[in-house]
Structure formats: C-alpha cells, structure tokens
C-alpha cells in the first residue's frame, strides 16, 4: 500500500476519532486542537476528497439542519481499508520511533 501524506494521515485519524460526528467542521476543530495550527477548509476538503478516492473513506449525507442554513452535512466514515491503513501507520510509526524518547531529542537542541 502507498504511503499517505501527513495531512491525509491526520485527517484519517481525526475521522476515526470523531466516529458518527465526522464531518468537516468538527474534523477541522479536531485538527486545530491536536496540531495547534490553523487549518482552512480547503486544507481539510482536499485530503478528505483524496482519501475518499483512494477508498479509505466513505461518505453519506445527513438530514439538513437549521443551524447550517438548511444544508446537509457530508459525514465521513472509515472503510475497512481505512482501518487497515490506520493500523499500518500506527505499526510503522511505532516501529520507527521505537526507543527514541522525546527527552533525548530535546537535549540535542
């Protein structure tokens, strides 16, 4: 399987975390919270679209709500492939980070 880009990885993870509520606005919020950077909508739409094309995400439309001016939400959900991808990322990341405590890196500054 091909490697995902960093934003795609973060978005995929955010979708998994948010479960039933995974549509654009909370995803964005989640990303802001965990990365500390500001994310624009475009920066979220793009990885979402790409992930969906790659078959890692699937989406459906919710009922319209008044809060959104009568617009529907597009809610994303991980496909089995998506979960597989997360597992792979987690494995690889843990592998490559193995035995490197944060303290050591900071001391080298």
């Amino acid at each position: 399987m091909k490697f995902l880009s960093r934003p795609e990885e973060l978005v995929l993870l955010a979708v998994w975390r948010l479960k039933e509520n995974a549509y654009c606005v909370p995803i964005k919020k989640q990303l802001v919270k965990s990365t500390g950077h500001d994310w624009s909508f475009g920066a979220v739409y793009d990885p979402l679209d790409r992930l969906e094309k790659k078959g890692l995400l699937e989406s459906y439309l919710s009922d319209p709500t008044a809060k959104r001016g009568g617009k529907r939400k597009r809610i994303y959900k991980l496909t089995p492939n998506g979960i597989m991808a997360l597992i792979e990322i987690k494995t690889i990341t843990d592998e490559v980070w193995d035995g490197i405590p944060l303290k050591v890196l900071k001391e080298e500054l």
Binding site: L61, R68, G69, K71
Partner: protein
C-alpha cells in the same frame, strides 16, 4: 428566531461561494462555512465573523482563477486544433467562406473609411464645436432651387458682434481670383481668400512659419500654403518676399500654412489680409465695408464657450432688417461648422458639399454586402453540419454541455472572421489608392495609429464572427447524442428547419443582389439618357473661355476679328451664361402680369448667339442687325416663358425687363435645357447686350473644326494672351455639361462595383451549397440512375431547387428596387421610364450567373458513375 437570523453570513458572500462550488451539489461546504461563521460570531462578534467569511472568499480567488484558466486553455487549444483541421480538410469550403468574408469586409472597410472621412470634415479645429457659419435666406431669390446663401454683406460682422455678446471672434472671407507673379512665375490662382485677422484664431490651420497673431494685421500681408511656396519659390525661403498680384499690388509674405487638409469644407491656397481691400477698392473701400447690398463675403463666428451653443442656436433665425435699418425679407441663419460638409449645398459654396444621405446610402450598401457575406458563412456551416455531427455527439457524450459547444462554434466563426480581417486589411492597403481616385478623396488608412479605427475593425470582425456563427453554433449544438448514436444523425424535424433557414438566407442574398443589379441598370439607363438627350442646342467642338479680364472685353472686336481669320475657327460669340446653365434671373414685366409673377432667367447675348448654338425658333424671328431697335427693344422668349405668361400669340407683345425700356417680343425659341436635367426648363428671356451690358458678359464661346484641335487651341492661346495678361484657360462645352452629372456618374460607378461584389459573394455561397448538397445526395442520385434516370433529368431536378430560391429572391427584389429607384429618379425633372428592361436584364443576369455557378457541381454529380456511389452499400 430573530436572533438566529442575524447570525447568517453576508448574503452576497454566501452567493459567491455557492457559485464557485457548483459541483458540490447541495453545497455541503456552504453549510460548513455557515457553521464555522456561527462559531466565530459567537466568540468574536459579528464584525469579525463577516470579515472572516469575506477573507475566506478573497483567499480562494487566485486558486480559482488558476484552475479555471488552466482548463479553459486546454479546451481552447483543442478547439483551435479541431478548427484548423477542419479548415484543412474542407479546403473548398474554407476557401469560399474566407473569400466571401474577405471580399465583404474589404468593401465594408473601404466604405467605412469613406464615411469616416466624410464625417471628419472640419472637426480638427480646436474650436470646431463653437464655430458657426452665417447663412442668409433670401426668400425672394431662389437660385438652383435653394434660397439659402452662404454669402453675407460685410457690415454684418460688426452688427452680430454687437448683438450677441457670446460671440468671441468673427471673420469674413472674400473669395477672389488673382493673377500671381513672382519673378515671371505667373499663374492665375482661383483659391485666393481675403480674410479678417480673426480667421486664424477661429480656424486653427497650423502655420509652419510666421506669427498667427499678427500675420494678417497689416494691409498687403499674405500667407500661402506649403504647396504654393514650393510652386513659386522652389528652394527659396518665401518669408518676407513679395508677391505681385493682378500686376498691380505687392503683397508681403508673412506666413506659411501647412497644406489645407482635404477634409475641409473650403480649400484655399492664399490668405490675404482684409485691410488690403481699403487701398484696393479706393474710393469704394469705405463704402464696401458699410455696404449692406454687397452680398460678397462669408462670415464665420466663434463663441466664447461651447456651453453657449444651445442658447445661441435658439436665437436664430433673425431678420436682417434689425441691423440693416431698411426693410428686407432676408433672414440670418447660423449653421454649425461640423454640419456644413454633410448638410448639402447652399448657394455660393466654395467647394461642393456632400450630403448626409450619401453617407447613409453607402452605410446601407456596406451593411448589405456584409450581410450577404455573413449569410454565406451561416449557410455553408449549417449545410456542412452533417460532417460534424459525430464530433458533436462525441463531445456531448464525453461531457460537453451545450454552451461549451456554442462557445466552440462561435469561436470558430470568430477565427474565420479574424483571418478574413487579416486578409482584408492587406487588400484594403492594396486597393486604397484605386478607391481614393475612384471617389476623388484622399483617404488614408492607418490601423494602428488610430485607436478608433482599430477598435472599429475589431468590433466589425467580432460582430461578423458572432452574427455569422450564431445560427450554426446553436444548430450544431442542438444535436442529441442519442439520435446520433442511434444512427439517425439528425432528427428529421431539425434538418427540415435548418434547410428552411438556409433557403431563407439564399433567397435574401439573391434578393439583395438583384435589387442592386436592378438599381445599377436603372442608374446607368438614366446616365445614358442624360448623355444622349437632345438639349436643344449644339454642344460639340465648342470651346468656352471664361472672361476674367476687362482687357478682353475692351478688345473683343479686334480679338474676334483675328480669331475669325483662322480657318479652323468657325464662329465666336459672347454671352453672360452658357446655354446649359443659365442661372441669374431678372424681374420682368408684361401687360397683365400679376403682382407675384415670377422672375425670368435671362441670357444676355451677342447677335449671332442663336445661330451659333443652333437654337431653333418656334415662331417669330431672330435678332437682326438691320433693325436698329433690336439692341434695346427686342426680346426672345422660350416656350416655358410663353406658357407662364399665357399668350396665345406672343409675337409683338409688350415686354420689359430691368433695363427700363419697353420692348417687344420678336420671337419664341423651342425649349432647350438651360439647366441641368435635374430641373424643369424655367421661363427664359433672351436679349442682346448693349454697350452698357458688357459688364455682364462672362463667357466666350468659340466653335472650332474637329481637325487639329491642339493647333487651334495653341493659336487661341496666342491670340488671347496678346490682349490679356492672364493665362489662357478654356474648357470644352460638352465636358462642362458632363460635370453637371458628375455626382450621379460617380454614384453609378460605385454602385456598379459594389453590385458586382455582392453578386460575387452570393454566387460563391451558392456554389458552396450546390457542391455540398449534391455531395450529400450522391447515393440518391446513384439509385435514381440505376433505376434509369438520365443525366439531364437529374441535372434538371437538382438545378430546379436552386432556381426556385433564386426566383423567389428576384421576385422580392422587384418592388423593393422599384420604390428605391422611383425615389432616386425624382431628383431629375427629366428621367427615363423605369420600364421592364432593367427587370428583364436583372433576371437574365442573376439567373444566368446562378445557373452557371451551380451547373458544374450539378453536372458533376449527375455524371458520376452510380457504381462509385453505391459500391459500399
């Protein structure tokens, strides 16, 4: 609820957003933005939230543009490639299409240049919008059918300046001839103006030397154009030199003018100072400047500011007697400078003016020709559509929307239009000198120097592109891919509709062409009629010499004697006017004349005049030198005069004109055309001039033999110059008569050319259609032939359809051209009957041309071997 409402993002911003996200179906993203907006609103207030929302949109613009333009270029690239491939593949049609457009555009551009030139007259003066010409209406003196005069008396200038404070400058122009001499470089100059110093303030003709403020202040100052400076001085510097005028006065040169542009309503070569007139007129000088009867100068005024024009205009006409002090019916009118050239002629114009109607007329022709060319393009592209059905189908299947296709085909026609523009610019450059000499104007053509011309040309080609591309674009884009794939190609209904449309176009084209052909034939008929009409006097081999010099009048006796010695000169006579154009009239009186009876034109002639010109008497006798009283008391009338008076038997009746002596009518001449054929023959009285009548004599007429004309002319020159210091100038009578109809002749010529062009384009189109449709019917023809049809019957069948269209066009053209020409012929009092001949001629021309055009295509199709066309079935 109301609070909720306020939390909506700005409507406009949201609308823009929803526009750039058309593919997101139900706009979930718009909803996302709205939610985020709400949050910003709650945390930081409305202002911040709005700002945030707008920033989102602004930030997205660069990306949006990049994205859009990328895909557009890709598509344009593709469209261009396909268009060029099509041009290459269908060489004949591309050629016909482009040729039609090129020829049409070239004509239109030439006509446009002409119109631009006509409109540009006198507009280059800085104060052009503030300058007016003063006109005088003399209701009692109608000359050439017009009672408006461009001449006014000299004291009017001061009177107007006093009465109208809004006038800033006023200038008078006195136009004369002058015999100009510098070191024996001697010419008679007819474009000599004597003007007030304000002339150079009102009209901003540029000076290359001299000071425009002071150049005309002193008496005997003169300015001349560069052309004249070259003519008289060659390489010398003319400034400060002296020119001798009329062998009497020495003028000092105080300035050089740049040559007067052709688009000026007056042309001059010399400007003399008005103050010179005091010494020149001598005793009469002071009186001349106060003489309300001296209708000799032209007066122009310039206002302080252009905002006064409306009010100033509304103050006119004014009665002249307000200033003159003596009762008169004359009225003062004003005419804006920029209206003069296209306003038609008033009396005593310096140059013949044009007429706004001619501008309209040529615009109409340009438009018609352009239409014919556009129709060609529409026609051929629609007829050729079948060949592109598959392309359209594939594009649609792949996802092109209808407006994509419309853009594509419009773009293609624009491409054609611009290619045509390119060729026609080149052609215009090539043809411009010929066209300039044809219309006798110096047109210039600079595409890139003049932003108006440039944008005009671009405008024309865009218009042509859109006009000619519109129908094919909508037609082609309307095919349904389902039908194409089903093999139906085009639905029967739309095919019928399109061929109906095409037929209408062909009919219109031929209607337009036939109208033009009929008009041309009628115009030429009328011109022929004018040329050959018996005028009632002889006009061949007669040389006319205008008399400029008193010396010639004084020495007429000896001159006539010496000329008479020469065998090639048959006779000599003098008169106040030449018989084809008797212009002045006199008050006349007879027993029982009503109060408001008309004035009569008059000819003041020498004894032998009637014999000289071969004017025949209807009754009575000619003047005779044996009857002493004839000089003062004999009158000969023309038949119109007799009819106006109402005499049964005019001979011996009392008659009198301004000469204050009662006389008798001794004879009546047959009506001869003493005016151009535009006008009815008016009442005319002929009498002999006595010694005091010499001042009125203006022309010598000399009848010469047809042999050795140049020798005779040389002899005449020698004799005339013996008695007069003026150079000998002459013209032939028949040429002068032709000059009366110059405008019509030019019109006829131009009409002929443009008609040819229109027909050419129409036939080009017909040729294209014929080859296309017969190409599409090869299979049908093949089957017919195998079933036994002959070549001739198939040719007939195919030709019949085209001829049907041509005939309908011709029939429509009949009434249209009849009414147009009926109007035009009203300009002539003497005119041809329109009759049937022009119509038959036009039918023959149009039918033969269109037959010839389709024949080859049809014949080729009919001759084709059915084996070839049916082999693949």
């Amino acid at each position: 609820m109301t609070r909720e409402k306020f939390k909506n993002p700005p409507k406009l911003a949201e609308w823009i957003l929803s526009c750039v996200y058309p593919d997101r179906g139900d706009f979930t993203s718009v909803g996302d933005f709205r939610e985020e907006y709400l949050e910003v609103y709650q945390s930081s207030g409305r202002l911040k939230a709005n700002l945030w929302y707008w920033m989102q949109i602004v930030k997205s613009i660069p990306g949006f543009i990049r994205n859009k333009s990328h895909w557009n270029t890709v598509m344009i690239h593709n469209y261009l490639k396909i268009a060029l491939r099509n041009i290459k593949r269908h060489k004949t049609f591309s050629f016909i299409n482009i040729t039609g457009l090129v020829v049409g555009m070239t004509c239109s551009i030439l006509i446009m240049l002409f119109i631009q030139y006509e409109i540009s007259h006198d507009r280059y003066h800085e104060n052009a919008d503030k300058i007016y010409r003063v006109l005088i209406r003399q209701p009692n003196d109608i000359y050439q059918g017009i009672d408006m005069y461009s001449i006014s008396p000299p004291p009017l200038k001061a009177a107007l300046m006093n009465a109208f404070p809004e006038i800033q400058n006023a200038a008078r122009i006195l136009r004369t001839e002058g015999l100009i001499n510098y070191k024996n470089n001697r010419y008679l100059e007819s474009r000599f103006f004597t003007v007030d110093p304000e002339f150079l303030k009102i009209f901003t003709f540029p000076l290359t030397a001299g000071d425009r403020e002071t150049a005309l202040n002193e008496p005997f100052s003169i300015l001349l154009t560069e052309e004249m400076a070259e003519k008289y001085f060659g390489d010398e510097d003319p400034m400060g030199k002296t020119l001798n005028i009329d062998n009497t006065y020495d003028y000092q040169i105080t300035g050089i003018l740049r040559n007067i542009p052709g688009n000026s309503h007056f042309q001059f070569d010399f400007l003399g100072s008005f103050s010179s007139l005091y010494p020149i007129y001598g005793d009469y000088g002071d009186r001349f400047f106060e003489d309300w009867n001296a209708y000799q100068v032209k007066t122009y005024v310039q206002l302080h500011s252009s905002s006064d024009t409306g009010e100033f205009n509304s103050k006119f006409p004014v009665r002249l007697e307000k200033y003159r002090g003596r009762p008169t019916n004359d009225e003062i009118y004003i005419q804006p400078l920029t209206n003069i050239h296209l306003g038609g002629n008033v009396n005593d114009e310096i140059e013949a003016n044009s007429d706004i109607r001619y501008v309209y007329f040529f615009s109409a022709i340009a438009l018609l020709i352009m239409l014919v060319a556009c129709f060609n393009y529409m026609n051929l592209s629609t007829a050729g559509a079948v060949q592109r059905v598959k392309e359209v189908g594939i594009r649609k299947v792949v996802g092109a929307s209808r407006h994509n296709l419309v853009y594509q085909f419009l773009g293609e026609s624009l491409l054609f239009a611009f290619m045509a523009l390119f060729f026609s610019l080149w052609l215009v450059k090539l043809l411009l000198p010929a066209f300039s000499s044809l219309i006798e104007k110096e047109l210039s053509f600079q595409v890139f120097n003049n932003i108006e011309t440039f944008s005009g040309l671009l405008g024309i080609s865009v218009l042509v592109g859109i006009l000619s591309g519109s129908y094919p674009a909508f037609f082609l884009s309307s095919f349904l891919p389902v039908n194409i794939i089903k093999g139906k190609l085009i639905s029967r209904k739309s095919l019928n509709k399109s061929s109906g449309f095409r037929n209408t176009l062909v009919v219109t084209q031929f209607a337009i062409s036939t109208v033009l052909v009929i008009c041309t034939i009628i115009i030429f008929n009328q011109l022929q009629y004018i040329r050959t009409k018996e005028l009632g006097f002889k006009k061949e081999y007669i040389v006319t010499v205008p008399i400029q010099d008193e010396n010639l009048k004084k020495n007429y006796g000896p001159l006539k004697y010496e000329l008479g010695q020469y065998s090639k000169i048959a006779d000599v006579t003098v008169s106040n006017f030449l018989p084809f154009s008797v212009e002045n009239s006199q008050a006349v009186d007879w027993d029982g004349r009503p109060e408001d009876g008309p004035d009569f034109r008059y000819l003041c002639v020498e004894l032998n005049f009637l014999d000289f010109y071969g004017i025949e008497l209807a009754e009575g006798r000619n003047f005779s030198n044996e009857i002493a009283t004839d000089v003062e008391r004999a009158y000969i009338l023309n038949e119109s005069a007799v009819r106006v008076v109402g005499w049964e038997d005019p001979i011996g009746k009392r008659f009198r004109c301004q000469r204050n002596v009662d006389g008798q009518v001794v004879g009546v001449v047959n009506n001869f055309h003493c005016h151009s054929l535009h006008r009815q023959i008016e009442p005319l009285v002929i009498f002999l001039f006595d010694d005091s009548g010499w001042w009125d004599v203006r022309y010598f007429s000399i009848k010469i033999s047809s042999e050795d004309i140049s020798g005779t002319l040389a002899l005449m020159e020698e004799k005339f110059e013996k008695f007069s210091p003026y150079p000998f100038s002459y013209s032939f009578l028949d040429e002068r008569i032709d000059m009366l109809y110059r405008r019509e002749q030019k019109l006829g010529q131009n009409f002929g050319y443009f008609t040819f062009v229109a027909i050419f384009i129409a036939c080009l189109g017909l040729f294209g259609i014929a080859s296309l449709t017969s190409g599409q019917r090869t299979k049908e023809i093949g089957i017919r032939k195998t079933l036994g049809a002959s070549v001739s019957s198939i040719s007939f069948m195919l030709t019949k359809e085209f001829m049907k269209l041509t005939s309908i066009g011709i029939i429509i053209a009949f009434p249209v051209s009849y009414f147009a020409m009926h109007e035009w012929l009203k300009n002539f009092a003497y005119r041809v009957d329109i009759g049937w001949i022009p119509y038959i001629g036009a039918v023959l021309i149009t039918v033969l041309l269109s037959l010839g055009t389709v024949f080859f295509q049809v014949f080729k199709a009919a001759r084709a071997n059915p084996v070839d066309s049916l082999r693949y079935e």
